[in-house]
């Protein structure tokens, strides 16, 4: 993966496949501690302890179309490479929580990349799944809940071209405002 936003897109795909209806994406920047924390939570099917143990094994996947499952292992490796840590918790029937801590100023930390593009792609491509996003930096915090968007939009779909470009600008402006790290 070239950047962190692609990792987020990738890990969220796991939640989508686990039939999650509500997915949380949380990014916290703590320059004093030199931490960048990414947390992804979902209310999907979850995993039993055996699956959970195997989840970070690159040669384990629940898919039948191929025999490797690199998403979580790559995310873990990238986090640990920057002096950070990785944790995954899951409970069958409840959901899964993935936390990766990156060294914020570490030379090997991948850039954030096109976070707005990733978020727009996710929120505009499924009507059934809702997202709660939070991003915190020392300059402030920004967050949204797609359930609020849907309530405001009533019968106008989230993937309408005009809504899409509006949301893109809205996210861009708000993330600039809190000066998210590159």
């Amino acid at each position: 993966m070239k950047d962190l936003s692609l990792h987020i897109l990738d890990i969220v795909q796991n939640s989508i496949r686990a039939k999650a209806k509500l997915i949380g994406i949380e990014i916290t920047e703590l320059p004093k501690e030199n931490h960048l924390i990414i947390t992804i939570t979902d209310d999907g099917t979850g995993m039993d302890p055996e699956q959970l143990r195997l989840a970070i094994d690159p040669f384990y996947t629940s898919r039948t179309t191929r025999k490797v499952g690199l998403g979580l292992s790559l995310f873990k490796q990238n986090a640990e490479m920057t002096g950070g840590s990785f944790n995954i918790e899951s409970e069958l029937g409840k959901g899964t929580k993935v936390t990766a801590v990156f060294g914020l100023n570490h030379v090997d930390r991948p850039v954030m990349g096109d976070l707005v593009g990733t978020l727009i792609l996710l929120i505009c491509s499924s009507d059934e799944i809702d997202y709660v996003f939070k991003h915190q930096t020392p300059s402030g915090k920004f967050g949204f809940d797609t359930r609020e968007f849907k309530q405001t939009l009533e019968n106008v779909p989230l993937n309408h071209p005009e809504v899409r470009s509006f949301l893109k600008e809205m996210l861009q402006e708000n993330l600039e405002q809190i000066q998210i790290t590159e």
Binding site: L6, Q13, E154, V163
Partner: protein, 132 residues
């Protein structure tokens, strides 16, 4: 400094867009629309599926072609990512491999607009050695 967009602005947009939507909906039936599924698993994402999907959405919007672009999981053609599955109404689905922006444009221009298939189709009969 410009005011940052908020939910209140979204509400304004909602009322503007609503009237246009009613006009569109009359002629639309999802089954009569072109459907594109972009394979968006680790293999796809690492090969640029996100850019391909964004490009498809924007280009189809700009050209005014009504299509449904969605994400799907790994189709098993990891070597040929980014892959897309294109379904033109009334025809069987076709899977294209190595779909970068150039290929995506070629598919729109030829397959979607003129109904001429282009190079890069992964044959349906293709299967891995493990399946035998």
């Amino acid at each position: 400094m410009n005011k940052i967009k908020s939910l209140a602005d979204l509400k304004k947009l909602q009322s503007e867009v609503q009237s246009k939507i009613k006009l569109r909906e009359n002629g639309d039936n999802p089954e009569n629309l072109i459907q594109i599924k972009v394979s968006m698993a680790t293999c796809g994402i690492a090969s640029g599926a996100k850019d391909t999907m964004n490009y498809l959405i924007e280009e189809l919007d700009q050209q005014g072609i009504d299509a449904i672009v969605t994400q799907t999981g790994c189709m098993g053609y990891c070597y040929a990512e980014p892959t897309i599955e294109l379904t033109v109404p009334g025809q069987p689905p076709v899977v294209y491999g190595f779909v970068n922006k150039t290929k995506a444009l070629e598919i729109i221009e030829k397959h979607i607009k003129l109904n001429e298939m282009v190079d890069g189709i992964i044959p349906v009969a293709y299967s891995t050695i493990d399946n035998h």
